[in-house]
């Protein structure tokens, strides 16, 4: 399912939107590589904040113009605002799933990775074990390691900054950073977006948590349906190529079959494992198909 992207600009640039790898077939295949994937702020169908088709100015190498710097700041802040709005739904859903306001806010402060946070509260709220919830959350956090790998040469973090840079390494900061034309602009993009999202996401989580706390029975307000829709919205931008669609189908079918059989929390992990196995074994065939298509 390759959806046309007319109207909204959707990022298709290699490495923008938080990806590594540079071979053309690598870029083209993965739905993951198109569109801002997720993180705090992975807004479904969210257009890439970066004008990826714009010609890159030659001059910008070491001393970027003021105008370029301002453009980067604007990009970062617009991403931060969009992301903050989405933090409200996390706060409300987290409290509805049984966490306290304090635990909810600590998740946004410490974990600070949207997909992982939603997975954790989803499994805990559904009655899953701590182990299953932490495992699902951690699997989703794994991609942040790839982002760090990619940003390392740009950010070269030292001392205490290493920890700040690491904590702010998420989809949005990576996406904005890697799509700039020069190292100083990349660093600026990283810091503005990372700090902006951090502040917005945490403030809005707090507001959402108090709102959710005041509501009472979450089912009455359809918050259980909202949780499912949130995952669908996170999945949506990834479904632009046939491979992620196939993997998603594996995950959905496996979960449906396993829910009545396995203890709570485990169907999700089993589905993830099967999805990973499918990706591992299909990788070769997909590479071959890509090579053929290229000829």
């Amino acid at each position: 399912m390759r959806r046309a992207t007319g109207g909204t600009r959707v990022c298709t640039v290699p490495g923008a939107c938080g990806t590594s790898g540079s071979h053309p077939s690598e870029r083209r295949r993965a739905g993951v590589r198109t569109g801002v994937a997720w993180g705090p702020g992975a807004v479904a169908g969210h257009p890439c904040p970066v004008d990826v088709d714009a010609p890159r100015p030659e001059h910008a190498d070491q001393h970027p113009r003021e105008r370029d710097r301002r453009a980067v700041v604007r990009q970062g802040l617009s991403v931060a605002i969009a992301t903050g709005l989405y933090g409200v739904s996390f706060g409300a859903l987290s409290v509805a799933s049984g966490l306290t306001v304090l635990q909810t806010c600590l998740l946004s402060l410490l974990l600070f990775s949207g997909g992982s946070q939603f997975a954790l509260i989803g499994i805990l709220g559904g009655g899953g074990t701590v182990g299953a919830a932490v495992a699902a959350s951690s699997l989703l956090a794994l991609r942040n390691a790839l982002y760090g790998l990619q940003l390392g040469p740009t950010m070269l973090p030292r001392g205490w900054r290493r920890f700040a840079v690491a904590q702010l390494t998420i989809d949005e900061s990576t996406a904005v950073a890697v799509s700039q034309s020069a190292t100083p602009l990349r660093r600026l993009g990283f810091w503005v977006t990372g700090l902006g999202v951090y502040i917005g996401w945490n403030l809005m989580t707090l507001i959402g948590a108090f709102a959710g706390d005041a509501l009472g029975d979450p089912r009455r307000y359809g918050l259980d349906a909202a949780a499912s829709a949130a995952f669908l919205a996170l999945l949506w931008p990834r479904l632009r190529a046939r491979e992620p669609v196939a993997i998603a189908v594996v995950g959905a079918v496996a979960t449906t079959l396993l829910i009545p059989v396995l203890p709570q929390g485990l169907p999700v992990l089993a589905a993830a494992l099967l999805g990973a196995l499918a990706a591992w074994f299909w990788a070769k065939r997909w590479s071959a198909a890509d090579a053929e298509a290229a000829e």
Partner: protein
């Protein structure tokens, strides 16, 4: 108490991964197959979570107002609605249906 363990453990592990990326030699993670699996894993996990949150009730499968919420959410996504709108529409749909006594 268990929730506290989950919150702190998940946070520590996620931070570990973030830091790890700046420490590990690139060759370890940049093998095509590893990259492919890392990229595809979220699709499987998210699809699984959609099913779990949308169609399970404890250890049983259940069809209720959440299904209608999901259908409306999918429609909104097709129309490129922003995240918050998608989520809100799903909630409103399910809430209204339950108010009317269904699901």
């Amino acid at each position: 108490m268990t929730a506290w363990i989950a919150v702190l453990a998940a946070s520590a592990i996620a931070f570990g991964f973030k830091l790890f990326g700046y420490t590990v030699p690139p060759v370890w993670l940049e093998q095509p197959r590893i990259l492919r699996v890392t990229e595809m894993l979220p699709a499987a996990l998210l699809a699984s979570l959609v099913v779990l949150e949308g169609f399970s009730s404890g250890q049983q499968l259940a069809l209720d107002a959440r299904l209608a919420g999901l259908v409306v959410a999918a429609g909104a996504l097709l129309l490129r609605a922003p995240f918050i709108v998608v989520v809100a529409l799903a909630a409103v749909t399910a809430a209204v249906l339950r108010m009317l006594g269904w699901g």
